[in-house]
């Protein structure tokens, strides 16, 4: 007893000196925590507060509490309903397009052949190129008279006359979607490619002998090992689609007549073009709620899938 009592405190003291005090972990996280609180949590709260006020860009410190007015106005305006519709189409199409193309390209690039590394590097280029530069070259390629893409579309009979496709009510959104898919698919392809490498080679060979590339073989051999990755990519792509600003703002500013106006574009337009900070913040709150629902929903799906897999 007395021996133990004599030894223990010393041991504890040494252990404490070694790992520092109990406060040490908090000293390590404090700078980042303060930083995140000031630049993420605080703006989040401010956004919620602003969304219940009438505040203008010209007199930002002068806000009047208006309760739910901003939200009521938003949801009863046709413009915002269109924005929600465009955002939904944009997000779903980006996810389906980018994950679909990404998976196809990953399957295509999988395997061992000469030039594999180069192929993998080249396919990443669209994802690495800065959004602003992409917006600039896309605008030029779609120049009404001299753009190569405009000429190609005319040659294919997609458009009857030369004209600015990005200002065309029918074509603006599909074109933006196509460019976004082009920007995102490389990431999906590279991630899926590394997931595919985890599939045992023998299994792939077996499927090949059995009539390679068939849908059955894909479902039996490949799908189970990439399913979880596809789920994660779908979530990431959805968030990126909600986030995408530079491409749309620079090429169309949400036009023509709101055909390419996503939540982020609507928010920016309300705040900095129309100077209505209150309603912009309300758009932001809607966007944040949608993002959180997406994140939460995907977690539920993942958990359910895991449980299903175990049972």
């Amino acid at each position: 007893m007395s021996v133990e009592g004599a030894v223990r405190p010393r041991a504890r003291g040494r252990a404490r000196r070694a790992t520092g005090s109990r406060l040490t972990p908090y000293v390590f996280i404090a700078p980042a925590a303060v930083y995140i609180l000031v630049l993420q949590a605080l703006p989040l709260l401010q956004e919620i507060r602003l969304s219940f006020t009438k505040t203008t860009l010209t007199r930002p410190n002068d806000s009047t509490w208006v309760g739910l007015d901003n939200f009521i106005k938003l949801f009863s305006s046709e413009g915002f309903q269109q924005t929600l519709g465009v955002t939904a189409v944009y997000v779903v199409a980006c996810v389906v397009g980018a994950v679909g193309v990404g998976l196809a390209v990953a399957l295509l690039l999988d395997g061992s052949y000469r030039g594999r590394g180069i192929a993998r590097a080249l396919v990443t280029v669209p994802w690495a190129a800065p959004g602003v530069a992409v917006a600039l070259i896309v605008t030029w390629m779609l120049n009404g008279q001299y753009g190569i893409a405009t000429k190609a579309m005319k040659a294919l009979g997609l458009i009857a006359e030369n004209g600015v496709v990005l200002q065309d009510r029918t074509w603006a959104l599909p074109v933006i979607l196509l460019v976004t898919t082009w920007q995102i698919f490389p990431f999906d392809a590279v991630v899926l490619l590394s997931a595919l490498q985890a599939v045992p080679g023998e299994l792939k060979e077996a499927v090949k002998v059995d009539g390679g590339g068939s849908l059955w073989g894909f479902r039996a051999a490949v799908w189970p090992s990439v399913r979880a990755t596809v789920g994660l990519l779908a979530l990431l792509n959805a968030i990126w689609a909600i986030r995408r600003f530079d491409l749309i703002w620079i090429t169309t500013r949400g036009g023509p007549s709101g055909r390419t106006k996503t939540l982020v574009i609507d928010l920016y337009d309300s705040a900095f073009m129309r100077g209505d900070l209150g309603s912009a913040a309300a758009v932001g709150v809607v966007g944040i709620v949608i993002s959180l629902l997406l994140i939460g929903g995907s977690q539920l799906v993942t958990r359910a899938a895991e449980r299903g897999g175990q049972a």
Partner: protein
């Protein structure tokens, strides 16, 4: 049978070439446009190849003070972003990897959330906060906001890196009387130097590519980063198309080259935290 196999191989090779062609075409087209004289660009005939005699356009861009100033500003902002993000992320990553403490789970969730939240949705309140801090129209302000949004990815990468270093070394350092800070600086950081470098490059290019905060927070021409300067080209008639494409290419190439170098880490950083969920 063998012939069919060869046909299949050829088809596959063709498909790969088509995909790669589509992937790089717009960037290639930037090069073609940059090296085609304006008069030729605005004619009905398309030229499909870069004109070797016109590479002097890049020299002109290099001596264009405006464009160089933009690229310089971008470099400063990007370097600052990388430095600040690392300083904040390294201790946090170490704590998340090595310590057990109350609120650790919460810290992890908060980090994931901040990684997932679309930053453009917060541009309005951040604009207000930066105005009150007198950080609008300042490169320092942009560095601060960029570091905040790249912090989660950088931190997760560093945490993963430290997770991979053997704990025995920490113990040994402890026995030798090293405190946690010295253990981190002397033992763990040198071991994960490649990860640190990759994290720095990722943060650098977050700052290099960033647009929404730059276009909102910076008003003065001589503080524009390249993203804002180049975006202003769009819809402007005065600048010659090939000159602006050459500027855009100079802005694009460093981003692409460096991303290729750290590609592996980018994928880990973006997916690591989320996979575990």
């Amino acid at each position: 049978m063998r012939r069919r196999l060869r046909l299949g191989l050829t088809a596959r090779l063709l498909a790969i070439l088509v995909v790669l062609g589509l992937a790089v075409f717009p960037i290639y087209w930037m090069l073609v446009t940059a090296t085609t004289p304006n008069a030729k660009l605005f004619s009905s005939k398309l030229s499909f190849f870069p004109d070797l005699g016109e590479f002097s356009v890049f020299g002109e861009t290099f001596s264009d003070k405006g464009v160089m100033l933009w690229l310089w500003n971008s470099a400063i902002i990007a370097l600052g972003t990388a430095a600040l993000a690392l300083v904040l992320a390294i201790p946090l990553g170490y704590a998340l990897s090595r310590f057990r403490f109350r609120g650790k789970g919460l810290a992890g969730v908060a980090l994931l959330m901040t990684q997932m939240l679309p930053e453009a949705l917060l541009v309005v309140p951040l604009f207000g906060i930066f105005r009150n801090l007198n950080l609008l129209d300042s490169r320092l302000g942009l560095i601060m906001v960029n570091a905040a949004f790249v912090l989660p990815v950088v931190c997760l990468l560093i945490k993963n890196g430290i997770d991979g270093t053997p704990r025995e070394l920490d113990e040994a350092a402890r026995v030798d009387g090293c405190g946690p800070w010295r253990t981190l600086l002397r033992i763990n950081l040198p071991l994960i130097a490649p990860t640190i470098a990759a994290a720095a490059v990722i943060a650098f290019f977050h700052g290099w590519n960033e647009f929404v905060f730059a276009v909102t927070f910076i008003f003065t021409d001589d503080k524009f980063p390249a993203s804002v300067g180049i975006a202003n080209f769009v819809g402007e008639q005065a600048t010659s198309v090939h000159a602006m494409m050459s500027a855009a290419l100079m802005y694009t190439i460093p981003a692409v080259v460096f991303y290729l170098i750290v590609q592996r880490y980018v994928v880990t950083g973006m997916t690591a935290g989320s996979v575990k969920g």
